[in-house]
Subunit: 343 residues, 2 copies
């Protein structure tokens, strides 16, 4: 059959089913009513889905289509990483305008396939339709050994709070993207994390396999918002130490050069450090891991895991208060200041 | 945490997690990074996702929100039924305008929960965001005993083609909905199948368990389009016998009274039969099953299964031609005339 929809489905499958190699446990991919998948024994199945919508999550005239493809899969895979799991396959729901079925779609599929190969997560199925804006929804299916999944609900008072990587980098990249005129240089280091985030799959697996983390989640909406979610799930509070968090923020040079972001102030060095801290607290899209470790186990967390910085930034507390210990010794409430689509 | 997004998530979960009863094999529902699901041993996992978009798949001012909720789940579950599987859980991705978080959302969730209970398919997770139009994407996870899944690719020449139910009923309902002025009576029998389709789960399971069907799929885009898909997957052709299909069409009374559909002609009795046949061939959204059975097994297919009409409507042929045997003995090519969003 050569209907327009079938042609589009074949393009989506295209090289994807060959080059990313439908795994042998994916017994049937796109082309039937549904995909069939053989679960591994001794594992639980992880299910997650994520919107990625033009105008809300990306701007068609600013974000390279290749980045849209990469990021739509990477951010959904990040939820699997946050559970300590391995991605196994994904479903792509794609709605797009007819005029984008040329170059834009080719670039989008290019980025998606690169992510699919890199994250070892082949496409298993999906749904396509036409819309006047690009709408993407990605479902990722993963697996984790039974009883080893990292949950948000396991944090207890006195445990140490860790984050991976440098927080605020993606938001700094978004500011540069918004401020930039003309063609985007995808290779710009300030843009890379915003355009091509890396889900922390290996770190999540390591934390789960060694039963090191008592709770974990990925940072998608900003530390201040996501930490509050973890604490609510665990019925605990938290104190973040600003001087420790300062070791895990975006580089000051990345935030001092421009004022594209509404939260940024003037350009002197002190202000750059403050900006970096604000971005680390409230910037979204980093897809780093936030996790808690019992005090007696904290020495087992290295300062780097596979080149990725790991930083202790605070402590879980009794009660429900979430506070920031400032460098001057004052403690102030830390309000959720990250991304909320309904705020 | 009481952020607007969290409040929305709690409303979605609301009674759903209690009244539809998160099954014991769903070890973790909404509220963590992802859902965890314990697969049954000896089963394959079925994965499917479906768009349900305002303006494309439903009209906000015509379709009751309750029907939008029901149908968004039912049509995705239908893909699991078409594989001979059992639905296990679903993920809801919902984007909606702020002004619809009141009555509209309550009614939508009411319909969704009824479908969730009736189809024994509890909610396991999802994603919410804000948009100026309602966007819905539903992923359904199902299971089927290993090696028993019904595929599209198994049909062979000389096998008998069956359909369940009466085709064209949903399209007749859509025409009435479009032509109607003022308030919709959801209880109108002509509207029911369009508004509240019933996935054929029991029939699919029975066909799979008894290894009766050689191929199967659900009819979502119209017989002429979907049969071509099944034939392409199986590398076969087909001849549909119009006089037999006439036994499985929408009732003439449902199509003779109005001319809301572009494919309809004048209102005399002959024309009503023709209209019914055209609707049966090209009308979408019926979610009946199309399946093939070896000639030697066809006697095992009853004329009704649990009250649902089953009708032999033609035969699989060698080659790739898909034809309609008219009541006057002529054979004409049957072109895909159903729904194609990119046509």
């Amino acid at each position: 059959m050569n209907t327009p929809e079938n042609k589009l489905i074949r393009r989506i499958l295209g090289k994807s089913s060959r080059s990313s190699g439908l795994h042998s446990d994916l017994s049937l991919g796109i082309g039937d009513d549904a995909a069939l998948f053989i679960p591994r024994s001794g594992c639980q199945t992880i299910l997650t889905c994520d919107w990625f919508l033009e105008g809300t999550h990306f701007l068609r005239d600013r974000h390279p289509a290749d980045s849209v493809g990469w990021k739509s899969l990477a951010r959904a895979v990040s939820d699997v990483a946050a559970m300590g799991g391995t991605p196994r396959c994904f479903l792509l729901s794609l709605a797009l305008p007819s005029e984008l079925t040329g170059r834009w779609l080719t670039d989008f599929l290019g980025g998606l396939r690169r992510a699919s190969r890199r994250l070892r997560c082949p496409i298993a199925g999906g749904d396509t339709t036409r819309q006047n804006r690009v709408l993407i929804n990605v479902t990722v299916v993963g697996e984790v050994r039974s009883r080893l999944a990292l949950l948000r609900s396991g944090a207890r008072a006195s445990e140490i709070i860790f984050v991976s990587g440098r927080l605020g980098e993606a938001d700094a990249g978004l500011s540069r993207l918004r401020a930039s005129r003309g063609k985007i240089r995808s290779s710009d280091p300030v843009l890379r994390k915003h355009l091509y985030p890396q889900p922390r799959i290996a770190l999540g697996q390591w934390l789960a396999d060694h039963q090191l983390a008592t709770a974990a989640m990925d940072l998608s909406d900003g530390l201040s918002t996501d930490l509050a979610r973890l604490c609510a799930s665990s019925t605990v509070g938290a104190t973040i130490d600003a001087s420790k968090l300062a070791q895990a923020t975006v580089q000051h040079a990345w935030v001092s050069k421009w004022n594209g972001n509404a939260r940024s102030g003037s350009g002197n060095p002190t202000s750059a450090a403050n900006k970096a801290l604000l971005l680390a607290l409230n910037g979204g899209d980093d897809y780093e891991l936030l996790f808690t470790v019992a005090g007696s186990q904290a020495h087992r967390i290295p300062s780097r895991y596979g080149g990725l910085k790991l930083t202790a930034i605070g402590e879980i507390t009794r009660g429900h208060r979430i506070e920031l210990l400032q460098s001057d010794g004052r403690t102030t409430p830390l309000k959720p200041g990250g991304w909320d689509p309904f705020a």
